[in-house]
Amino acid sequence: MNEIKPTQSIGVSKPLVDGPEKVSGKARYSSDFIPSDSLVGRIYRSPVSHAEIIEVDISEAQALPGVKAVITGDESDEPFGVLPIARFEYPLARDKVRYKGEPVACVAAVDVETAQKAIDLIKFKYNELPAYFTSEEAMAEGAVNIHDHREGNIERDVEFDLGETDEGLEAADLIMEETYNCAEIAQVQSEPHAAIAEYDIERDFMTVRASTQVPYYVHKMLAKTLKMEESKIRMIKPFVGGGFGCRTECLNVELICALVARAAKGTVRIVISREETFITHRGRPETDIDMKIGVKKDGTITAVDFKAIQRGGGYSGYGVVTILYAGGLMFGVYDLPAVRYRGLRVLTNTPPPGAMRGHGTTDVRYAFENLLDKIAIELDMDPIEIRRKNLLQGPKYETLNEMFINSYGLPECLDWVEKESGWKERRGKMGPYKGLGVACAHYPSGASKPVNWTGEPHATVHLKLDWDGSITLLTGAPEIGQGSTTMATQCAAEILGLDMSRFQSLTSDSKLTPKDNGSYSSRVTYMVGNASIDAATNLKNILVEAAAKKLEVKPEDVECLGEVYRAGTQDEGLTFNEVVQAALEGTGTITVKGNYDTMPESWGTKKYRGGAISGSMAYAYAAQVVEVSIDPDTFEIKVEKVWAAQDVGKALNPLSVEGQIEGSVWMGMGQAISEGTLYVNGLGITNNMLDYRVPTIVESPPIEVGIIESIDPHGPFGAKEAGETSLVAFIPALTNAIADALGVRPVDLPVTPDRLMELMENYEKTQEAAE
């Protein structure tokens, strides 16, 4: 009897609960829903970058047999966008087109060939305007405004100066500065965007399935652009093949699909191509950074002064948040006594970027860590030591922008990578064309203030317990492959002491599951995990009450062992099913809910406008060491090995955490060495998986993962963010390793072999000239 123990789920490596469907091919993604009566939707896209629309003549397309509907910007005059302050984008362009490939019209037809024929019959008349493909061109004197209400094509101009920056720089013994250009990158998630919309004309009811990370936001934007009651829409997120931020806001695809389905009075399916997915974009913006750091002789940072310019594309998207994150997230890794920031989000005639994994901070952190490394070399300091020198003085340290930091495992991360990589023994002794580099990073565990402020809790989880003793977990948290459903199940199972096999789950269906803001900014583990714990605790209380009544003891005397509830060790107790039966007496099926809300202390600073952005309940930390070798003839870069330590607070599922960290490293590697979109006159020339070079398994290095557990006091079982921080750390660790290997330091991203060869040759020339 005494051996009975609650089943442990937290801290145990668990395969993902939705794994079997994916592995066996049974999982159904948006594009897999093909009702027999569904029509094919195809989008007519602008062939020009910037133009006033004179006319979109769809008459011939409409007349083509087999065409059920053709719609244009006339179909909806309601703009959409993720930020309430920046909704200027229409599902289909009205008045103007602002980037090549912007949707102008959509056809629904009986088959794809007819749809394409109809597309070919559309006549688009326009008056072309000057177009700007770089931030510099768009900001130039006399440039035409891409949006009337955004003078000079500036979407947002952010400024803050916290601490005494000028004094800090004056007090410095060494000031170094550098200018960085980081290419625009895309997620290249495995599933291109897809949507299927079923319009029920009798009930005026719309059901939409779409590949999205934010079904709630899509639901809201569907209602807005369709001008339908929110209650007349059902939004379902099926299996999704990766997000990484590319579908963290409502995209035009799902809105167009619903609009054309209503026009066609039926069901329409739109599955866009890889090229169109690139055009829909929402990746990381091209960013130009001027970084200046002042330090004392001993490496102590006295001030940071930096500027970031982001090429924001034709529409805002998350842009305002991105440019604010780029500034605010300078804080929180190191002890910075003074920071000055200027951030410009610029509108251009290119596809709009968005909130890609490592949102806002990645490029700026890259520049900072690259420059800090250079400073260490200049001061003849060990790059790990200069970082140690500037660590926060403990977790309760208050940053100038009032971050709420209650756990800080960065020192342990640095110790781990230093030891495991053999840093002290190997660095500087590896021979020519080989090197080691280090860098640090952090990332929030969800934005503490939601995009849509409604007063509702941040997260709500329902648990339904029925007569059969099974528990159904209902969550709106969008499972996009990151493991959120597994995580929520683990949290509930742990509280109840039950094996996870007692649980099933239902996710992201607006008619069944509670609302959730979505899978972005690494909010789900922290917020939904806590809500799941709350729900399970509430359920446990009900079960304990019922057991107490049955056992005729006080609730506080009942011991819950998961499958057995008993009153003391001598009691045989009740089985779980007996407790369930007792609990259901008189009430029937039990549904409990759990909520989570952030604490006001975490809502960011009021010292500057937009200071709420970067406020979070907790920050995860990473340190990474990268080992590289470089081919002396071709300058091809080989990442030999990576040591990635991340303070995730608590690894709820170590298997999943390892996967997230490895994936982060790998994605960071793409941005570092090979990825970048390129445009020729605004036409994306790398919009395919051959010319946009995501690393392959051949490039995938051995990755040693070091999980550091600082146990965050407010996190679910102490957990924090696990899926973004390590991406941010990889990029500077890589360039710092290259600098160690070659003596020449890459600045612009990606560090392709041709760029590296050019850098090396210029470096050799200056060396020769010096001699």
Binding site: R45, P47, V48, K100, G101, V112, E113, Q116, P192, S273, R274, E275, D633, T634, E636, S674, L678, V680, N681, L683, I685, T686, N687, N688, M689, L690, D691, R693, P695, T696, I697, V698, E699, T752, P753, D754, M757, E758
Partner: protein, 324 residues
């Protein structure tokens, strides 16, 4: 993915039948593995009403050996070439080149014939219908201008097959079957320096067999390509080097290039090295000679100057390695 347009698929079982079908439908295209062709069909670059699928032509799928040498059917897959013990032992660069094509799955489908007849490539050409239409097409396909060299009259689309240079250094010959019968020509004569029309085929001709001469069997060779990723990528620049030494002196040498011109080419002037020993100066001269003959244009996202630099460096490295 762009949708697949409708076309009539023909499935002949002999080369003769394939050639006959082609002569009846002059606009028809031969398709073997389809790894490159089908992408172009989906993109509307090729708009065939008839496709002649060669996968059922078993006579193209044999490798035979006689006193003359090795005869490899054009339908042999790249994977079969990469793993064939005889080819690996006697014509090493050929096996290495086949193993360097795209990724392993492409090698399972892609054929020798397909790789040798690969269409030339250019950033402004290998794009979707919408893309090319938005960019006014180009002289290689439906348009008038060249976006790589505006104002120019020539097309610079780059030949990007990996296997051709390896075959060229072994003086391979090819069998072409057409309505008028078959002919055998050196592989080098199958190509010409024109990105729009880089194959010298007569109308309707089909490549059936590649002959590798016995005289050169076992002659040491290597193939290497520069690329950004270790898989998938076409060569930014690729080179095959065959080098036989007699003690310290060069007995025979051949170098061929791919990815840097509209056709795979044999580097001229290598006979000057015969009878001499290599030193740093002569290796540098070889490298510079290779660079001079490579004329990459802006047909990829990677800078032409880099491709020229790197092809010289690779040729030098392989030569030095083979010289021992």
């Amino acid at each position: 993915m762009e949708y697949m347009p409708n076309f009539q698929l023909h499935r002949p079982t002999s080369a003769e039948e394939a050639v006959k079908l082609r002569s009846e439908e002059p606009e028809a295209l031969y398709v073997a593995g389809g790894t490159d062709m089908i992408v172009n069909v989906r993109r509307g670059i090729e708009q065939p009403e008839n496709l002649i699928d060669l996968s059922g032509v078993t006579e193209l799928k044999t490798i035979t050996e006689d006193d003359e040498g090795l005869h490899i059917g054009a339908g042999i897959t790249l994977n079969e070439i990469a793993t064939n013990e005889k080819i690996k032992a006697d014509y090493q660069a050929v096996a290495e080149a086949a193993a360097a094509v795209a990724g392993i799955t492409h090698q399972q489908y892609g054929t020798l014939g397909g790789n040798l007849c690969l269409d030339t490539r250019c950033l402004f050409y290998n794009q979707s219908e919408w893309w090319r239409q938005s960019n006014d097409y180009c002289m290689k396909e439906r348009g008038d201008i060249c976006h790589v060299a505006p104002g120019g009259k020539r097309c610079f689309a780059a030949f990007s097959g990996d296997v051709a240079p390896a075959m060229l250094v072994y003086q391979a010959e090819v069998e072409l079957v057409g309505p008028e019968g078959s002919r055998r020509i050196p592989l080098s004569e199958m190509y010409q320096n024109d990105g729009m029309n880089h194959l010298t085929f007569n109308p309707g001709e089909l490549l059936t067999v590649v002959h590798l001469p016995k005289a050169l069997a076992g002659s040491p060779s290597r193939y290497e390509k520069a690329r950004i990723r270790g898989s998938i990528d076409f060569p930014l620049a690729g080179t095959a080097v065959r080098l036989e030494m007699d003690g310290k002196k060069v007995k025979d040498i051949a170098i061929a290039l791919t990815g840097v011109n509209p056709f795979p080419q044999i580097v001229k002037g290598t006979e000057d090295y015969i009878g001499k020993a290599f030193d740093d100066a002569s290796l540098d001269a070889l490298r510079d000679n290779v660079r001079k003959q490579a004329k990459p244009m802006k047909t990829t996202t990677v800078a032409p100057w880099y491709r020229r630099r790197v092809i010289g460096a690779l040729a030098r490295r392989l030569t030095e390695e083979l010289a021992g």
